[in-house]
Amino acid sequence: MHQAIEPRLARLAHTLDPWLQELDETWSLAETRARIVAIRDEAEDLRTFVLAPNRHWRGHRAGQFVPVSVIVDGVRVERCYSLSSAPGARFPTITVRRVPGGRASGWLHDRATIGDVVRLGRASGAFVLGEETRQLLLVSGGSGITPCLSIARDLARRGELNNVVFVHAARSGAATPHAIREELEGLTSAGIHFTVGPLTAERIDALVPDWATRQTMLCGPLPMMDALADHWHAHGLSDRLVTERFAPPAPLNRERAGHSSESTSVKVTLTRGARSLMLAPAPTLLEALEAAGERPTYGCRQGICNTCRCRKASGLVEDLVTGRRSDAANEDIRLCTSRALSDLELDLGENR
């Protein structure tokens, strides 16, 4: 989300942005901001948000995702969502599935209204079209439809959708995005298959007999992805399969492995300087880093003065004073009162 902007521009933006935003909330010298200009219900728990970004938006490639941040209960929450629009669209769209208990998707589904302003990062992701676009098979499940939809819309725009087969599986009839299906059927005479229930290898065989000759792009829930990837692998066709996984960013390796968190080392990647270290178990991250030879800045060492606060790019930590767990990407933590519960990526700042 934090783009590399010149410090001078950042200072200027800090002074001028509040004044610009008194006039229009999307105006900024440095930040990519976008207004929600339309909201469409696609299916049960699946909504499309049409965005009007400011001039900092640099567009996207078909299949990429964008970090979106919104304010939920006073807290800025950032999540990545796949763009569902074709590249070059004047109004890019994100299509968001409601995650049970999810803060950002919950806010987007329950609270967001037309006119609200969200902040965007830069589009990224490698789930994009390669050279071969003619004999393409797009397979999606659930909200995995979004990057595939962007790719299909891109191909349609370029008149290359006719040999493409699109297979989508929804968990139920209510979860099937009918408007999207109709739009795709209107775009091409090639195979558009919207099914209900888990998508198995046999189902693919039946719907797309020539699947093995095609370049395939696959995005969906993990069990479906694993099952289909095995199928491709079994036929020695793994190099013809491109996948996109929406998985939790922080591997909770200790908890998953059932180890007590005091007894395992964690790997910490320092994003500034691009180094990794193994941290031996210690009561706090500050002590663990010091034991590994690092010299992070600190003050009181008891959670009062905030000197050791730094940015955690990814991973799970627990604050020993507040008991609060931080698992989202790009949250600030205090080293002196935090304990690592997974491998971490940290930005210790300039005063290391």
Partner: protein, 382 residues
């Protein structure tokens, strides 16, 4: 941790409406009681932290917007007006803007009170304010030194700001005789006093800090002060063309008004009578011990909602010292619980009106201007 200045309770002072609680000694707590006392304060904190949300973010955004708009109003009035009324209005608006910027907005954000919002422009370790004190110096001398070692003589350099003698444990020297005058001077120039505080100039004068160290320490201050001075006394007057003297004078008065106000509020936070000073702790301090020291080392000022906002809620100095990283606008509601907990454990909750606390500080500055023997004689002869 032993309170050192219980002797102050024995020095007769004129009865005042401020000190009926302040002169009462707190009950000595057992180790178990201190732990329980700490746990109860932790619970107060946890309740509020769990409740933080939209309204807290909206509050700080509202304060930022108000400070910004007042600053613009004040500057426009000073720049385009020609009459004394718009001059007074301009100075007033700019003074209030600077006070809000430094206190309710800057001081509180720089404590990390809004770090939980995840908003990059509210991050405590990146925020900067309209003050000649460099943010990086402030975070060290205030957030770390003062809030960790509150009122420990020799550790907390805010005890008298290395200039005034406000506790009997501070060794007296002849410069203290003029401290009523130096205190007034400090009040008028307070932002400069605060900014110079972290440079430890007195240590260089005493020969304990090399000149080179001082030069390194001075860098952030010089850069920051040059920018502030250029803005208020060169750039804006120049932009005002023929109105330059008026803008120069208006900016100077607004800075002085902010200095006087912040000085008065901050001196009432730790220097009224009844506030204790401490020795360097002998062993490790528990969270309960720390809470107890913060409580006994701080004093509140009573007032209404507007007054609290204008002090950046430092009128709730006690709550601020107990919970420095909780959004200050929550201190009034926390104060109810803190007072009840203090009463339950027989602890003194030092509070009074602004006038009473100020008078109490003034008396202390006068009393400790005199050397200890003369002080005793003065007491005996009265």
């Amino acid at each position: 941790m032993k309170p050192m200045n219980q002797s102050t309770a024995m020095i007769p002072t004129k009865p005042s409406f401020a000190t009926d609680t302040a002169t009462r000694a707190p009950r000595r707590l057992s180790r178990d009681e201190i732990a329980a006392f700490g746990a109860e304060l932790d619970a107060v904190r946890a309740t509020v932290v769990a409740d933080l949300g939209d309204r807290d973010l909206a509050h700080i955004r509202r304060m930022q917007k108000l400070a910004r708009r007042l600053e613009a109003t004040g500057r426009v009035l000073l720049h385009v007006g020609l009459d004394p009324v718009s001059f007074v209005g301009g100075v007033g608006a700019l003074s209030v803007a600077k006070i809000l910027n430094n206190m309710e907005v800057g001081h509180n954000i720089m404590h990390g009170q809004y770090d939980w919002t995840g908003e990059p422009d509210l991050a405590g370790n990146r925020f900067d304010w309209d003050n000649v004190c460099a943010a990086i110096d402030w975070r060290h001398s205030h957030n770390y030194e003062h809030h960790t070692y509150t009122n420990i003589v020799g550790k907390d350099r805010d005890v008298g700001y290395a200039l005034l003698r406000i506790a009997p444990e501070q060794p007296w020297n002849p410069t203290h005789l003029v401290q009523p005058v130096s205190a007034l001077w400090l009040a008028l120039t307070f932002q400069w006093g605060v900014a110079l505080h972290d440079l430890r100039i007195e240590e260089t004068l005493q020969g304990t800090q090399p000149l080179r160290t001082l030069a390194t320490r001075a860098k952030p201050f010089l850069r920051k002060a040059a920018g502030r001075v250029a803005k208020d006394y060169l750039l804006f007057p120049a932009l005002a063309l023929w109105n330059a003297p008026r803008v120069f004078a208006g900016n100077l008065l607004a800075n002085v008004a902010r200095n006087l106000w912040t000085f008065a509020v901050i001196f009432c936070g730790h220097f009224p009578e009844g506030v204790q000073t401490f020795q360097v702790p002998e062993g490790p301090e528990t969270r309960g011990d720390w809470y107890l020291r913060q409580l006994n080392g701080s004093a509140n000022i009573e007032g209404g909602r507007l007054f609290h906002v204008m002090t950046g809620h430092l009128s709730h100095q006690i709550e601020h010292h107990l919970f420095p990283d909780v959004p200050a606008a929550r201190y009034p509601e926390m104060a109810t619980h803190v007072r009840a907990i203090c009463a339950k454990y027989g602890q003194v909750y030092n509070t009074g009106t602004f006038g009473a606390q100020l008078a109490s500080v003034a008396r202390k500055i006068l009393r400790y201007a005199l050397p200890p023997t003369a002080q005793l004689e003065a007491v005996a002869s009265s």
